[in-house]
Structure formats: C-alpha cells, structure tokens
C-alpha cells in the first residue's frame, strides 16, 4: 500500500514534465503575445520588454531556462501584474480558493449524498420529486444568476450575511454565500449520482439477501447499501476537487473573492505566459493528487481492490 502510494506520487514528476512541456510550446502557438496592445508599442520599448523577460532568446533556450527555474519553484514574474511574481499570485490566491473550494465541496458532498439517499429511498414519491427538481435547478441555473440572487435576498434585503468580499473584511461568515453558490451545481450532480447508484444497489441480489435475513431497513441501507453505492460519488470527487478549486472564477468575480480563479482566467486572455504556466501546473498537480486520494479511498471502500 505505502509502496504503491510512493510510486504514484513519484509518477507525478514525469506527468508534470510532459504537461509543462506541451503547455509551454502550445501557448506560444496562440496568436498575439503578452505585449500586444491595441496601440503599437515602439520598437525600442518592445525590445527592452522582450529582453527584460528573456524572450529575446531562442525558444529552446527559454524552455530550458524555465525548466531550471521550476526546479527551484520559481515560476517567474507575471507579464501583466507588474509588481507580482507568479509565485506571489499563487501564494496569495491559492489558500483562498482552497478554503472556498473545500468548504463548497464538503457542503456539496454532505447535502448531495443526503438528498440522494432520501430520494432513492422514497423513489417516485413526493420527497423524490422535490429532490430531483432541486437537482435539475442546481444543474441548469448558472452561477452568475444563482450568486446575485443570493446576494440580493440574503445579503441586501435581509442583511443576514455579507454580500461579498473576503474574511479579512467580514470574518469567517464571508465564506458562506460564495461557498453555497459554488457548491450548488456540485451538490445537484452528487445528489443525482448517488440517487442513481443507490437505486441500482437496492435492486441487487445481495440487498435481497440482506432483506431475506430479516435486517431492519435502516441496517440494510447503512450497512449494506451505502458502501457500494458511494463508489461512483468518490470517483467523481477527484475531478470535482480540482475543478472547484481552480474553476471558481464566476463566484470569485460575483462575490469579490481574492482567489486564484480570476487571475488564472485573465492570464489566458492576456497571454501572460508565466501565469498561464503557473495555473496549468497548479491545476494538474491538484488534479493528479486528488485522483490519487480517490484511489486510496477506493481501496478502503472496496475490498476487491488491492494495491501492490
């Protein structure tokens, strides 16, 4: 088990290397560049800028230099945020996005599974219809509608929670509204996923056996159904985790959260090469690690899986 774990962590290195290499050259294929402006920049200034960012060198040399920098975890200066390095942007934004994302995902998992259980056990009765309707709303209402509606009622009309901005200004309760908004589509998806898989397990032979043994319905559900039924939910958590952390740009914009999603999206539009690379590296590392954790959880849930 631990040997498997170490091997998986080590396999991160070649994977990231491939991702970095591909991204490094791919983003340079995109038209435009970090210094392209509507107004032409005078040639001499452009030359100076290119020199300042080592972009006057041949591409191969830039690449090798970048690899060397990364080994020292120096992601370079941002091309657009003049006074900030990519490291600084990530250091200040990532913890915020992590906190927001983990909170939202925890809410989504807890409420999604609960709603999934209720609606599966009450299939085709009113609690199921209510749950399924909420899930459909959650999946179809976009975040930029959901967020402002919550802000309008809970933040502005009823003044229960702050409308926006982060912990430094409003304290811990500033997390609640953005986390709810961010969690909603994930909640809806997890609810549908767990409902479907619980229904499938409920029809299986071993549940019939459990019932034929005279077990209480609650024991049947808690001991016999859930372990197997939650496997698909766990699988989904890997990509969901990295998606929710890096992809919260809408919520960050609506609620003025100083997270990492907005600079990441901006970097792509600005051709901010170093920041793009930084976001790619962060996103892939989080995704790979999250999938590793999912695999480990899998090993605990399903005895048929063993890691060697």
């Amino acid at each position: 088990m631990s040997r498997y774990f170490i091997r998986r962590v080590l396999s991160l290195i070649p994977t990231l290397f491939v991702i970095i290499t591909l991204s490094f050259f791919l983003i340079r294929l995109a038209p435009g560049g970090p210094f392209a402006r509507e107004k032409d920049v005078p040639e001499i200034i452009l030359q100076n800028l290119l020199k300042r960012y080592n972009m006057d060198q041949p591409l191969a040399q830039q690449y090798l230099r970048y690899l060397g920098d990364i080994l020292r975890w120096d992601l370079g200066p941002s091309f657009r945020y003049r006074d900030l390095s990519v490291n600084e942007i990530i250091d200040s934004g990532l913890p915020v996005s992590m906190l927001l994302g983990v909170t939202a995902l925890a809410m989504a998992v807890f409420s999604g599974i609960s709603v999934g259980i209720i609606s599966a056990l009450k299939q085709n009765k009113w609690p199921d219809y209510v749950a399924v309707s909420i899930a459909v709303i959650g999946i179809s209402v976009p975040l930029f509608v959901m967020g402002p509606v919550l802000q309008l009622f809970i933040g502005m009309r009823w003044k229960i929670l702050p409308m926006g901005q982060w912990i430094s200004i409003h304290g811990i309760k500033a997390i609640i509204l953005p986390a709810i908004t961010l969690s909603f589509p994930y909640f809806a998806y997890i609810a549908r996923l767990s409902r479907a898989s619980i229904l499938e397990v409920l029809r299986s032979d071993y549940i019939r056996t459990a019932r034929a043994k005279g077990l209480k319905e609650s024991d049947v559900v808690w001991r016999h159904v859930l372990k197997g039924a939650l496997l698909p939910v766990v699988t989904y958590l890997g990509p969901a985790f990295s998606g929710i952390i890096v992809g919260s740009v809408v919520v960050e914009t609506v609620f003025l959260v100083p997270g990492i999603g907005r600079p990441f999206i901006q970097s792509a539009i600005n051709r901010d090469y170093t920041l793009i690379m930084g976001s790619v590296i962060v996103y892939s590392a989080v995704l790979i690690l999250a999938n590793l954790v999912v695999d480990v959880i899998y090993g605990f849930l399903d005895p048929r899986i063993s890691y060697k």
Binding site: D205, A212, G214, L215, H224, L301, D302, R304
Partner: protein, 328 residues
Amino acid sequence: MTDDLILQVKNLRTYFTVDEGLVKAVDGVSFDLRKGETLGIVGESGSGKSVTNLSIINLIPSPPGKIVGGEVVFHGKDILKMSPNEIRHLRGNKVSMIFQDPMTSLNPFLKVSTQMIETIVLHQGLDKKAAKEKAIEMLKLAGIPAPEKRIDQYPHQFSGGMRQRVMIAMGLSCNPEILIADEPTSALDVTIQAQILELIQELTRKLGTAVILITHSLGVVAGMCDTLCVMYAGRIIERGKTDEVFEKPLHPYTQGLIHSVPRLDRENKERLYSIQGQPPNVIDLPDCCPFYPRCEKAMDICKKKYPASVGLGNGRAVSCWLYSEGNK
C-alpha cells in the same frame, strides 16, 4: 399428520403490473409443507417458482409486484397480514432463503463474518463474540476448511461453490424451520452441484428443517424431494409424492417433462423427446389452460376454461380436463 403442518400456502396470487399489461406471475398457488419435509417446485423459467417463494416471506419488489390475494399460514398465522416487524422476525430466523447466484448474493463490500454475525446477533440475541463462534461452527458444518481464518475474508476470496456453502451456513445459522432454496445449484458447475445438494440434504435432516427446493432440474427433485409440485404459467398443474408422480405422471406437461429427460438405462437410438412450442407469453393470459397450444391431447374445452384442480387422494392432484368430471 396435520399437527406437523408448518406452512400452508392457500390460493396465493402475485401480479406484476408492467407497461405491456398485467403479468399473473403466481395465480392461485396452494401447497402444504410439513415438518422436515422436502418439497420440490419444478417448472420452466418464468413459470412463477421464484415469485411464489419470495411471496411467502413478502419480499416481492413493489412496485411493480403486488400480492393480490391468498394466505400464507405459518403456524396458524397469516404471514401476509403480519406487520413488517413481525415478518422481519421470521425472515432469516424461522424462514431463511438461499438464492440462485452465490456470486452476487453475498455483499462484496462486507466480510463474511460481518454478514453472518449480524443475522445471528439479530435473531438469537447473542453477543458478537458468541455469534462469531456460532458462525464459525456453522461454516465448519457447511464444509468450509479453516473456518476461523476464512470467516474474516471477503466474498471475492471464495469460489462459487464455497460462497454457496457460506450462504447455506448463514441460512441455517438460526435453526430455521423452513429453508427456501431458490435454484441453489443453477449457477454452479456439475460436480459442485451434487456436493451442495448433498450438503443441504444432510444439514437440514440433521436440524429437522423443512426445505422448499425450487429447481428446473427433475433429476434434483427425484434425488431429494419427498413431494413435488409442477408449475406452469403461474399455477401448480400437478402435485403429489415424488415417486408417484415420476411413476405415473398425469398432466401432459409433466409427462412431457419426464419424457424429455435423457435416460441412461435405455438405448438412445431415437432423438430425445422435447415438448413442442414455447412457454406462453404470460402478459394478459386468457383464462384457458395455458398449456393447450403445446398439448398433444388438447380438447376444445381447454381453450375456453382453466381446469380446476382435481384431488386424487394421498396429496395427489392435477389440473387437467382429461381428469375433470364432465369433460366431453
């Protein structure tokens, strides 16, 4: 004789509502089960054998299934009128079941010990340690080598035959009065089949358990059962002592079934006999004899009305116009 009666199924009817219409999966099935008796229920796939037995302990998935009528009297009480709590007390305790496919009937996510102990703790009120000892003892009885070690393993670490042994050990762990075995050997290979059947026979004799054995194999019935019910399209069409039915089958369907078994003691120069046609489509079945399209002795009346069961004494009965009064 009636004192020994532990289970009486009277006119049991279980229907399924599907998109295409009404399926009368079990339509007026009656039989008695006595203490220590082994009753065989045979029939083709879809004849209602399994549904009959799931109905006995009210485990029909509903919807789409529904027990629409009849009684299942266990020691003088109708199981179908019991509260869910009362039925739960019977299931796995007084009446236990073994299912067809041992590969899927055990929970793959739980250790065998967990699955066995929970039943024993629930019904016998033992603490976990005593229950585990009991479970190990049952596994040993069921012929599982090194049960002390095996009990802490997961089902996927057992072979198919071993899993069915676990199911049997689990089913008998609370000394049930009735063991319902729903095609316990269909999913196993032939050499294991014989072992499993022998095990069921040996253990239930030792414990005095009555057995309802559902099967589509006449050979299994001949070897194990005291009495026999033949089912066709949701009804019992013939019943009686196993020897008598085999010696002199009355219903054309039973005759056909017995005829189509390959025999070792006869020279097989001709083609093996088989019953013509297909089993009927059970959706919205008309009230006629469902076997008449395939019957070599069909008469006009067979297409019009279902023949009532005619008792011939000594537990023998048959539903066929050939034996009904006033058949013309």
